[in-house]
């Protein structure tokens, strides 16, 4: 994987492959995917090393959260836009997938209606709302997974960045956006299942969602999506455009002064990030089997930011580490002491802020620098 020739380092999409951090990240991710797969498939269930279907499913969920965290780190870490509403893009991607899965149920619903999902029959609707049309086709639904969050981010970002809304004001508006969407999706008249959301899914592309093989497939697909999303983000931040983003983050007026249309760069990166969040949501929904308006809740969006802060901002791999660590801790805590979870999350955040201001990734960097200083390499580094 050492493609360090001049040509590969110069093409923007392949540039990350010549980076050491990306090589390590991808190796670890692929090794983890392979290990879990082998321990699930090849090790017999009575062996203590066997990884059960439940755990595979859980890991798949963590990986989709990790992709979401990478998307947030792209806009927060590199562009300096603290989005407290990325849960909205995640949820919209999830709803697009959920709508497809609902249409796949077909006549097997409780009410046995050939077209309408159960909740619409229950509400006495006699036909599909226009925005449900087309979601019986996989390609259309999968396209919507990216297009719908991207479009929302485009309109929202266009208005916000054109008016030069930045900093804490932008954070508050993103928070308001996700809160407004949550209230809207709670309403039954919206046609998204209201309070209960979309659930009772059966099949994805013809594969039974309750079978262990499908769960393993979804886990691997999420891992691959995380790898691709990571490479894309890494390619963006290592390009000249990424340096313009960092310049914008640190001195927006100056960046504008040397000739960059800052608001367009912000909009571009914001839309890419929203689409990645939507993809993460779409991979999350079939693995947990439900999508409801609680994913729009502001608390969830703030939690995502906490993952990134814990893992370490502006590194991308830190976001992955943070998302997996916090959610693993959450799984354990909510199992052992459900009431203590929020205290534990708060304590983790305080401890990391005090002792590891640059997050877990900052600790890695510190240790790396320390070993290099203790054992300086033979050739002096410039």
């Amino acid at each position: 994987m050492s493609l360090t020739t001049e040509s590969s380092t110069n093409f923007w999409l392949t540039r990350p492959f010549s980076e050491r951090s990306t090589q390590i990240f991808l190796s670890v991710l692929l090794a983890a995917l392979a290990l879990v797969t082998i321990l699930h498939v090849a090790v017999p269930p009575d062996n203590p090393l066997h990884v059960g279907a439940y755990t595979v499913n859980l890991f798949g969920k963590y990986l989709s959260y990790a992709l979401l965290a990478v998307a947030v780190d792209l806009v927060w870490g590199y562009l300096g836009i603290l989005s407290l509403g990325h849960g909205a893009f995640f949820a919209i991607g999830g709803y697009a997938m959920g709508m497809y899965l609902m249409r796949q149920i077909g006549e097997r619903g409780t009410y046995g209606h050939p077209v309408l999902p159960d909740f619409m029959v229950f509400l006495n609707w006699d036909s599909l709302p226009w925005y449900w049309l087309g979601f019986d086709m996989a390609w259309f639904a999968f396209a919507m997974v990216l297009i719908a969050p991207g479009l929302l981010a485009l309109v929202f970002g266009f208005l916000a960045f054109r008016s030069r809304v930045t900093g804490v004001y932008l954070s508050i508006i993103t928070q308001a956006l996700t809160f407004a969407l949550m209230l809207a999706f709670f309403r039954n008249e919206m046609g998204f299942g209201g309070n209960n959301g979309l659930t009772d899914f059966r099949e994805l592309l013809g594969y039974n969602l309750r079978s262990n093989d499908t769960r393993l497939g979804l886990f691997i697909a999420t891992g691959v999506a995380l790898a691709l999303g990571y490479i894309l983000c890494r390619a963006i931040v290592t390009s000249k455009l990424g340096r313009v983003c960092v310049a914008t983050r640190d001195a927006e007026a100056r960046t504008r002064f040397i000739g960059y249309r800052v608001e367009r760069f912000q909009l571009f990166v914001f839309v890419v990030s929203a689409m990645l969040a939507g993809l993460a949501g779409a991979l999350y929904v079939p693995q947990v089997g439900i999508i409801n308006p609680s994913e729009f809740s502001p608390i969830f969006s703030i939690e995502i930011v906490l993952w990134v802060a814990l893992g370490g901002r502006a590194t991308l791999y830190g976001a992955v580490i943070g998302a997996i660590l916090v959610n693993y801790a959450k799984t354990i805590f909510t199992g052992v002491m459900p009431d203590a979870w929020l205290f534990a999350l708060g304590a983790m955040f305080v401890l990391v802020t005090v002792f590891l201001p640059k997050g877990v990734a900052g600790l890695f960097r510190y240790l790396k620098r320390k070993t290099r200083d203790d054992h300086p390499p033979k050739e002096a580094t410039a």
Binding site: S239, D250, I258, G259, R264
Partner: protein
């Protein structure tokens, strides 16, 4: 004539042509020509019948007490402020009063502000890379490649501003003086014809001042440089020609010695300055 103009303005279509085939017409000598310029803010005349001519390749120092109109003059040249009357020409072809700020900047007038602002998280090299004249739209920026040509250009500027050894260091660790040089380097990356430098040595040590003097005198000849400065010792060390502004118009012009011995100048500026210094 109009045909000639339409041919020569093609540099605006092809950005990369601008430096080689500069459209600025300096055959008649001056690169900047200000005549009878006046501007007033709420009745206060900040600039009053100012006449100023800068020759191509010249290094000019402009001094004057606070409120003499130095900053307003720079604002007029860069298009930030519109004068009430008068004319401002860049070369003998471009009427700056009919152009907006970005156009004036792309024509080759670079301005360095008093307070240095560099991108602290980026390396010195990357700071210069971003400042370089290039296609600055989103996708060309995303797919931009680092070519040998660009590297050479950046190295050349790094050599000029004396930051070669620090090129891979983040700009945030530079000293105040080094940041000023980096900012001048960022202007140079845009290949300006005329550099406007506002108080370059404020807050610098003696050694840093000396190096800045070398840097600015080295730039003159290739570019025209206009320096606004309060520090008399520094002006004396670099100036070939000094213009003294007072109450919005030119009080005296000439070599440092000529200007310093002019009684009216001594009265309004140098005398006062010496008293302050004493």
């Amino acid at each position: 004539m109009s045909l000639l103009q339409s041919l020569t303005t093609r540099d605006r279509v092809f950005d990369f042509m601008a430096p080689q085939a500069s459209p600025v017409d300096v055959r008649h000598g001056p690169i900047l020509y200000m005549e009878d310029v006046s501007v007033s803010f709420d009745g206060f005349k900040a600039i009053n019948n100012l006449n100023l001519t800068i020759d191509d390749g010249e290094l000019r120092c402009i001094i004057g007490p606070n409120g003499a109109g130095k900053t307003t003059m720079m604002d007029i040249i860069t298009g930030k402020t519109r004068p009430n009357e008068g004319s401002v020409w860049f070369g003998s072809r471009h009427n700056l009063l009919q152009m907006n700020e970005p156009d004036i900047a792309s024509l080759g007038i670079g301005r360095k502000f008093q307070k240095p602002t560099v991108f602290e998280a980026l390396s010195v090299f990357e700071n210069l890379e971003l400042a370089m004249a290039a296609d600055k739209r989103i996708f060309p920026t995303l797919t931009a490649r680092m070519t040998g040509e660009i590297k050479d250009r950046i190295d050349e500027v790094l050599g000029t501003i004396g930051l070669i050894e620090l090129r891979f260091q983040p700009a945030g660790i530079l000293s105040h003086g080094q940041k000023q040089w980096l900012e001048i380097g960022m202007l140079l990356m845009q290949r300006p014809r005329l550099l406007l430098v506002d108080e370059p040595v404020a807050g610098m040590t003696e050694q840093e001042m000396e190096r800045t003097a070398e840097l600015l005198t080295g730039l003159a000849g290739k570019q025209s440089v206009v320096v606004v400065e309060h520090d008399m010792g520094f002006v004396r060390s670099i100036a070939r020609k000094v213009t003294v502004l007072h109450q919005g118009s030119v009080l005296a012009e000439g070599s440092m010695d000529q200007v310093a011995s002019d009684p009216s100048v001594v009265e309004v500026y140098l005398g006062a300055d010496d008293e302050e210094a004493a």
